[in-house]
Symmetry: C2
Subunit: 396 residues, 2 copies
């Protein structure tokens, strides 16, 4: 029989001192500290009274775009969306950017800082075809034993604007993308009904879930959201759709938003927010009160779109708390849920959590409470991913 | 003659390799790298091509309230302003909080991370009287050779609500406070004209500048702002007043805001923002275009009001950039100005900047550009404050 690893004397979520036994890649026991003794030959890690958290979950990033590990990208891009799209296209062609190398560098940094599950969107378009997908699949394969990565086939230029995009998305789903992405059916594709129909036709063909980036503001976004929900209900896609950003939910009259939230909850739509400080965001307390799963992610990390973003998901939890003016310890713990439990639920990451039977994804930090960890973002003192210890200088 | 210290081969603001000579507490030469040779006996520090920045400026914090260096404060406070004020009063009385010890612990951490100038507000009220002032004065004295600290005598409970407050503020200004604070003349004191008159009477009596915390929203805030400007002009206080927060400037019709900005610029009022993500903020580009000095600070750091805040002013610059959706390198450099040049100008910190004749406040970080430093907030590789080298574990 294989020996186990014990984390002794840690405090899950800041609670009572506990001992955690990991066998293979699974947490197979959590007991009050000292109640059970390690067997001969078991490895023992001293939790030293530290805060024990489950591995973090990055709910929305773009590994294929990052410049992580490269010289600093000097951003002189115009402010319009089209400026950013065009700038990235030119940069991709001329910079020598290697998406395989950069995505791996960033994924490794996520792991070192305790993120063990990650959903990444990968551009699929008629220029790049499957090139970025192949790069990120290489990173996924290289880290498959430690990092649970979902890949979204994402049409950054829309699904309808350029002939052939749909066929490349189709190919991407065949080649191993787990989720079908989509983007502003009205504002980008200019034909919301047809755009959504195309997306659902592709997704249902492959039996894959959907993650749609909806930046459309106010009433336009709400209009598109309703069209989306019509199709969720028609195709039985309840619980299989994430709406990312959903800025519109932060800028609707109360009654309109309330009705939409009811329907979002009924259809089990996950709502992803990066908690941007400069635009409207889905309201936090109302989402939770409505039973809507609201979760968090970075969006891009250090790419041609943004100089910001961090592979430290505790920082994202802090930004979420700041955006929603959360200050109490219980509220900061709820912000942490957005980059852990809620993100795992919305994305469908399995066997997630600090409980027997769950995947052994564990983080120790020197903090008293979850709120303390969110506010201070202390160094990771111990990270385990799928039962594998991740040292500070972990590489592949 | 005293020997000098040279920082050799660093890049001021990311520019060309340069050598900086410090004699005593003053920068006395900046030359292209290699143009001049250190004299025998001079100390030489290798800049290693790193980014050289001036010491950072914290424009608004509350050292007397922080729990820095204490066990984590578990926040379970209600959401209303009165809840927070009352909670702090009880906590101050019962927690054993030692404002001298905590303010020194936090001030030291500011120094270690490169902040060499700091404006702190200190509560003056009829309960505490001058107790917190004396604590922070002790910290100021202990660090006087390295940290340039301004103390604002701040009536956290308003200047008119409790009889006797004005007399304690008067005493605080006699005892060494540098600036007179004030708070929401309408929303807290309930009598904006009389409250402002009281503040100006006290300030002019002592010849001290004013820093007023104006949280009042929208048209109410704008109304109070105009009353304030009337008194600035009547008393010849142009260039001697800071308005902190000024949420109202982010929530006015364009024409109203434009007119107010013109007057603010003409009266040389400094505007302090913490760049909060959850409320309206003074518009960044319009402030700069109007010639208004907009600068940054934390407000509280890890106190009973907020679990957030950080002694790393690069983090505050990042939050400012995020709040205003600044992404370009030149815009991130402007965000850095808010915690350096602009803050020094608004607060009146003297001999500030990277130029001969200025105080030797220097920071080296491993970054290519100012934007890179703001986005990544890298470790401080070298800090000098008033000519004194501040090691990583600097203490007093």
């Amino acid at each position: 029989m294989q020996n186990s690893t014990w984390i002794i004397g840690a405090r899950p979520f800041g609670g009572a001192l506990s001992d955690v036994r990991v066998s293979g890649a699974i947490i197979d026991a959590i007991a009050p500290h000292g109640e059970r003794a390690p067997a001969a030959g078991d490895a023992v890690i001293d939790g030293a009274g530290m805060l024990l958290l489950p591995g973090f979950v990055e709910g929305h990033t773009h590994l294929d775009k990052t410049t992580w590990g490269m010289p600093w990208y000097r951003n002189a891009v115009g402010a319009r969306l089209v400026d950013r799209i065009e700038n990235e296209r030119v940069w991709r062609a001329q910079s020598g950017h290697d998406a395989a190398r950069s995505s791996r560098a960033l994924a490794l940094e996520f792991l070192r800082r305790g993120t063990t599950r990650l959903r990444t969107h990968v551009d699929i378009d008629t220029d790049a075809r499957l090139r970025h997908l192949e790069s990120v699949l290489a990173t996924r394969d290289a880290l498959a034993d430690v990092l649970d990565m979902q890949i979204v086939a994402f049409p950054q230029s829309g699904v309808m604007k350029r002939a052939g995009t749909r066929e490349w998305l189709d190919a991407a789903l065949r080649e191993g993308a787990h989720v079908l992405g989509a983007l502003d059916p009205a504002a980008i594709d200019g034909d919301p009904a047809a755009s959504l129909d195309t997306t659902f036709a592709l997704a249902t063909k492959h039996g894959k879930p959907i993650d749609i980036h909806l930046h459309e503001p106010g009433e336009l976004g709400a209009f598109t959201f309703d069209l989306l929900l019509d199709r969720v209900e028609a195709h039985g896609y309840q619980g299989r759709v994430v709406v990312s950003h959903a800025f519109c939910l932060g800028a609707l009259p109360d009654a309109r938003r309330g009705a939409l939230f009811e329907r979002i909850a009924r259809d089990c739509i996950g709502i992803l927010t990066t908690a941007p400080a400069s635009v409207s965001v889905p309201p936090f307390r109302e989402a939770r009160a409505s039973g809507v799963t609201l979760f968090g992610g970075n969006d891009g990390v250090r790419d041609t779109w943004t100089p910001f973003g961090s592979p430290d998901m505790l920082e994202r939890a802090m930004l979420i708390a700041m955006r929603y003016d959360l200050r109490r310890d219980d509220d900061l713990a709820a912000a942490f849920d957005c980059v852990s439990t809620e993100a795992a639920r919305a994305c469908g990451f399995e066997r997630y959590g600090l409980a027997p039977g769950m995947r052994a994804d564990l983080v120790l930090v020197d903090a008293e409470t979850v709120a303390h960890a969110v506010a201070m973002r202390p160094a990771r003192r111990f990270v385990m991913a799928n039962g594998v210890v991740i040292p500070e200088n972990f590489s592949r």
